[in-house]
Amino acid sequence: MSGGGPPRKRNFKIEAFKQRVELDPKYAERTWKVLEHAIHEIYNHNASGLSFEELYRSAYNMVLHKYGEKLYDGLQSTMTRRLKETSKSIETAQGGLFLEELNAKWMEHNKALQMIRDILMYMDRTYVPAAHRTPVHELGLNLWRDHIIHSPMIHRRLLDTLLDLIHRERMGEVINRGLMRSITKMLMDLGPAVYQDDFEKPFLEVSASFYSGESQEFIECCDCGNYLKKAERRINEEMERVSHYLDAGSEVKITSVVEKEMIANHMHRLVHMENSGLVNMLVDDKYEDLGRMYALFRRVPDGLSTIRDVMTSYLRETGKQLVTDPERLKDPVEFVQRLLNEKDKHDKIISVAFGNDKTFQNALNSSFEFFINLNNRSPEFISLYVDDKLRKGLKGATEEDVEVILDKVMMLFRYLQEKDVFEKYYKQHLAKRLLSGKTVSDDAERSMIVKLKTECGYQFTSKLEGMFTDMKTSQDTMQDFYAKKSEELGDGPTLDVHILTTGSWPTQPSPPCNLPTEILTVCEKFRSYYLGTHNGRRLTWQTNMGTADIKATFGKGQKHELNVSTYQMCVLMLFNNADGLTYKDIERDTEIPASDLKRCLQSLACVKGKNVLRKEPMSKDISEDDTFYFNDKFTSKLVKVKIGTVVAQKESEPEKQETRQRVEEDRKPQIEAAIVRIMKSRRVLDHNSIVAEVTKQLQARFLPNPVVIKKRIESLIEREFLERDKVDRKLYRYLA
């Protein structure tokens, strides 16, 4: 209280009441006796007879009259004496009652301490800070610590009792958690140092040896899944223990002890455990066990990387087997489907059990990238898979399903290093689909192109898009042709021409065969019409790529519509004028290239159910001495008979070599362009840097071979785009 002005200014010194200036020398002694008596009474639970005001005033007066030190010392020695008695009574407590007695005495001490502090508050407020002594409450705690907790008869016994109780709880007994909580709280109240030194440290040591023993026992007799279950339960138990009766700060410490003893120390053994380790879990889709392993291993250093490494090597190993197994290579669609299934399986594991961990996704991706590129036919197979899906696989599928499948394919595509090889094959397959009208859904085709475009840019797909444009203009041209020339044509054969822009399509120039005269006339009409509307163009016939529908009448007058290739049509038309022809005759009359002719004849004469020709002698293969006859006895349940050419869907070895070679050829200008681009901006660069830069620029499409790059550089030097530095032969200069 203060007068006037702002209230509560307390900085001034107050002198003693003036009527008390003359002091009885015995006064202090008498007053202390009163207070000492009161302290004993408080310990004896007799406080109700005491007047707070009187005691407070006594202490107040003692401090005021410079007897603070006497008061303080008196308090200290009185309390010490009381606590020594208390310690004896605790020491004599038997067995299980020990903790309870300790706790009860602690409660009493606490309460008494608070009362004492209250009546001695004036001393706490003025004398203690001035004399730099410990405040009453803290003094009381320190005395308790020194005379009770650290008393030789109690110290060890307390620790043993606590540890024993915890051990018993770990073994499944029920213990008095409330009491445990009070005791640990007491240790904390005495200061974190007391809790840590007198309880926590030994507790952690004992726990470590307990779990080290237990984990040893478990790992000998449990499989990996069960072991992890046990470890998880132990960790949860310890966390629960902390929440019930230990200080919250112990949680990290004790869990890390369990983690170290149960997980970190056995990590490798667990992961590689025979018949139940990580690989088995992956194989059997044990989401729960995998999830548990992830959650537990995440807690220890290097835990996740251990899982990841094992998973990666497992993926690489199985992937490698998958892509190099010659059995699997027989069916490209099945091959790609397997890859997709494998990817789906592990994607699910990562999302369900590994919390969609980015590092695991990366590991999965890099593993796929690794093994897909082990097989250089992967680009072809992936394209074949798309081809299969777009030809027939997607019939009846909804738009969403189509998108899903295409997205998956794109995912595999992203793993490819030789994207240009894929492009090459995709172009071939797309051309076949478009020309034979086999594509199921135009939307799906375009969707795939858009995906490729977003992935690799405009350049990659411009030719593919050109193919679609050609198809569209061809349609328009044909409509226009028939609209203008229908009366001229009469009722001859119907012609459907696809005009393909050279360069956009993967056509190999092949000499046209001799077409039957009926067809030739229509073709000539179309040629004159087309060249009449488009100046300066050149038309060549790709007879190796066409198809034809022809009507045929067989022996008993039954009529069939045959769907054949242009070559097959040419062959069949010959039989309108002759019953039997030798191979040589056919070859001479049609001028079909030998390999194509053999395949064509094989499909006409050797396929059961579709053998519209008869061959002599009968055999599976075509030889140059064979003779062919029109098969009068041909029958079929179907009116329309589709005669496929015997084509290996998968490329044969020489074809593959050829494609390879073409890809290599196509890469050359790309590598050169990259080199020139780089040198134009850098002017001077050494060899290794050029190789690195070129690789970087082109890796979205393929991985250029350093040897090839070197050859291209040499070729550019020859053509005087670059020159070698005169001093340093490793340096190249750009010549503008």
């Binding site: 109700s48 007047s51 005001e53 407070y56 009362m115 209250d118």
Partner: protein, 115 residues
């Protein structure tokens, strides 16, 4: 100045029931002041006295004797309790008038009561 309707006016000694919400302060001359506990707790000494565990006689009887504080000082103190209660929380302040002749005694009492 007195925030509450219950005026801490001096009263003749008479029997007062312990109501829990109030506490009786008795001066050296025996005058009793009945104040809200809330107000009395402005003094830390009184706060401890009233909240200390273990039941001192004051807590049980609800009255505190001050043999060294005279009536007029105790009255002033009670007034201060209410003044403080009223103004300590809010922003508005008002002068708390203290007559110069009692300043010293009042200050000593304030030190005693830690208020």
């Amino acid at each position: 100045m007195m925030g509450k309707g219950e005026a801490p006016a001096p009263r003749e000694p008479e029997e007062e029931e312990d109501t829990g919400g109030v506490v009786k302060l008795i001066s050296a001359e025996g005058f009793e002041f009945v104040v809200d506990k809330k107000a009395a707790m402005v003094s830390n000494t009184l706060r401890n006295m009233l909240t200390s565990p273990g039941g001192f006689s004051e807590t049980r009887q609800g009255e505190v004797r001050f043999p060294e504080i005279s009536t007029h000082i105790l009255e002033k103190i009670c007034q201060y309790f209410y003044w403080s209660l009223h103004y300590s929380s809010g922003k508005e302040t008002a002068e708390f008038p203290i007559e110069p002749e009692i300043t010293l005694e009042l200050m000593m009492a304030a030190n005693y009561l830690d208020a």
